[in-house]
């Protein structure tokens, strides 16, 4: 019998640096891991490499000019980011959004959720080690959605399409058919991923039981979105505080049980089914009408006051806190970023895991660094 080496030699912890420019950190994010052999003992994350001062910049811009900067805080789900911002402006300026604009906004936000989750599936596949295949498949499906966005708003990522009061311009005439077409390929894509990853034994062995976080801890860290729902907390702004048309729509809030990496993946996949369901209901109820209010003021002025608007973005609660002292620009703007709060739990999730698993844990939170740093 050979005694285990720990008892014979003094071992020393090793510091390794991951990032800031590392392919698996999903952007410019740096973490310093303290490892004991293969096991992570401590994680110190460093953020701020992508800080552009978007909040402060927006305070020097009028409401319309700020929309473009909101796109850039959350580049994978720009429609959702714009939505919170324009809803905050609408609340301050007292604008009623017409029905048609609201339905279209709902459809676009859900489509954006789909495209963002596809991006997650692909990137997560690479983190797990299935190099290439899921990434390219996800890209294929996402491309169909992005093409549709390009036909509607003219841009593929930075849409700048929502305006305080409604939309910049109406959707093209063949909008409904095009969305149905895209949904068809999306449904096939979700099914592909279900078969490709969910039921794959290697994938499950790699993801099940690691990166656990309990429901209580997840709540304490202020997590939101699919990352907290995977721990069994049914928290969804769309259902808890319905905005847009979500009150009239029928959809389920998907929750997991185990709070591990696999559940965080699976929650997102199942959520995509719900998004497809939501879009279909919206399409059935989308009717001709106005897309900006009848009496749209030429100069948009907000009443003095403050609002906090929260919406459910693909990564969780995306909130905008806006203070106005009157006039056409915010006095103070604060973005409540879901990724930043979700990222706080990284240490708790990855301590006592293997180094290779720490990467998967990071991938499973689905962070967008530009949203973390703003």
């Amino acid at each position: 019998m050979v005694a285990s080496p720990q008892h014979e030699f003094e071992t020393q912890d090793l510091l390794i640096n991951v990032g800031p420019q590392h392919p698996s950190t999903h952007g410019v994010f740096r973490m310093v891991l303290t490892i004991d052999g293969e096991v992570v003992k401590d994680v110190v994350p460093y953020i701020g490499y992508l800080h552009r001062g978007a909040e402060k910049l927006c305070e020097t811009m009028d409401f319309r000019q700020g929309i473009g900067f909101m796109d850039r805080t959350e580049y994978l789900a720009a429609h959702n980011a714009e939505l919170s911002y324009v809803m905050a402006v609408e609340a301050l300026a007292g604008l009623e959004v017409p029905d048609r604009a609201q339905w279209i906004r709902t459809i676009l936000c859900e489509l954006n959720r789909l495209s963002s989750h596809f991006m997650f599936l692909g990137a997560f596949g690479i983190d797990v080690g299935v190099f290439g295949t899921p990434f390219i498949y996800a890209w294929r499906e996402r491309e169909a959605i992005i093409d549709l966005f390009e036909e509607i708003s003219g841009d593929r990522m930075m849409y700048a399409y929502f305006r305080p009061g409604g939309l910049a311009w109406d959707v093209p005439l063949n909008f409904k058919e095009r969305v149905r077409e895209v949904l068809k390929s999306t449904r096939q894509g979700i099914k592909d991923f279900d078969e490709l990853l969910t039921q794959n034994e290697i994938f499950r062995a790699r993801t099940e039981g690691i990166g656990y976080i309990s429901a209580e801890d997840a709540i304490d860290w202020g997590m939101s979105g699919p990352s907290i729902r995977a721990s069994g907390v049914a928290l969804d702004v769309r259902r808890d505080e319905p905005y847009l048309k979500y009150a009239d729509l029928d959809f389920d809030v998907i929750t997991g049980e185990n709070g591990d990496v696999f559940d965080r993946y699976y929650c997102r996949l199942m959520e995509m089914h719900e998004s497809v369901k939501i879009i279909e209901q919206c399409l059935a109820r989308l009717e001709p009408g106005l897309i900006v209010p009848d009496k749209m003021p030429r100069m948009l002025r907000a009443a003095p006051g403050e609002v906090y608007i929260r919406t459910e973005a693909p990564r969780g609660e995306y909130g905008i806190y806006m203070v106005s002292k009157g006039g056409n620009r915010p006095y103070r703007l604060k973005v409540r970023s879901a990724c930043l709060s979700n990222l706080q739990a990284l240490k708790q999730m990855s301590v006592d895991q293997y180094v290779a698993d720490a990467i998967i844990v990071l991938g499973s939170i689905d962070i967008v660094l530009s949203e973390v740093d703003r």
Binding site: E151, G154, Q199
Partner: protein, 162 residues
């Protein structure tokens, strides 16, 4: 093992699907008419001069301040014996494409429909070796519209089409 076999079936089934990739530099997919590349100025073919009067509206509305506009008296105006009804006209115009964030605001504020987002491939393929070359002057901004190679799509704010 069953799961792995199923995964392999998915990969195999893609062989039967039509390829979605395109051989990009050799093939340019058709762009939708709303496609937004970078803003350019439009040419009034009737009186053979730019639409732009140099009114500075776009310059003031641009969030990233990437435009510079200078106006001058129009030598082609009726009072000078010309056939244009524009009293003032654009003298010099620069847009720094490196700074522009393609937000479409300049198009929305222009009262003369003088500026539009480029919706052709030429607008997207603007790579240069020096960033200075991305500062476009009046001639470069007008060239494409003067030559007639742009399908104009100028959106009206809040226009409904049904």
């Amino acid at each position: 093992m069953k799961g792995i076999a199923k995964s392999l079936m998915v990969t195999l089934s893609t062989f039967t699907r039509k390829p979605v990739t395109r051989d990009y530099p050799n093939y340019h997919r058709p762009l939708p008419e709303r496609d937004r590349a970078f803003p350019l100025l439009l040419w009034d073919k009737e009186v053979d001069e730019p639409f732009c009067t140099g009114c500075h509206a776009c310059e003031r509305a641009c969030p990233v301040e990437c435009m510079t506009v200078l106006m001058k008296d129009n030598p082609n105006h009726k009072s000078n014996g010309g056939d244009s009804s524009r009293r003032k006209i654009i003298d010099k115009f620069w847009i720094d494409y490196a700074r522009c964030m393609r937000c479409n605001i300049c198009v929305e504020v222009c009262n003369f429909d003088a500026i539009a987002m480029n919706n052709t491939w030429q607008g997207h393929e603007t790579s240069v070796h020096d960033r200075k070359d991305l500062v476009m002057d009046l001639q470069q901004l007008l060239a494409q519209s003067h030559g007639g190679a742009i399908k104009e799509w100028v959106p009206t704010l809040g226009q409904a089409n049904e």
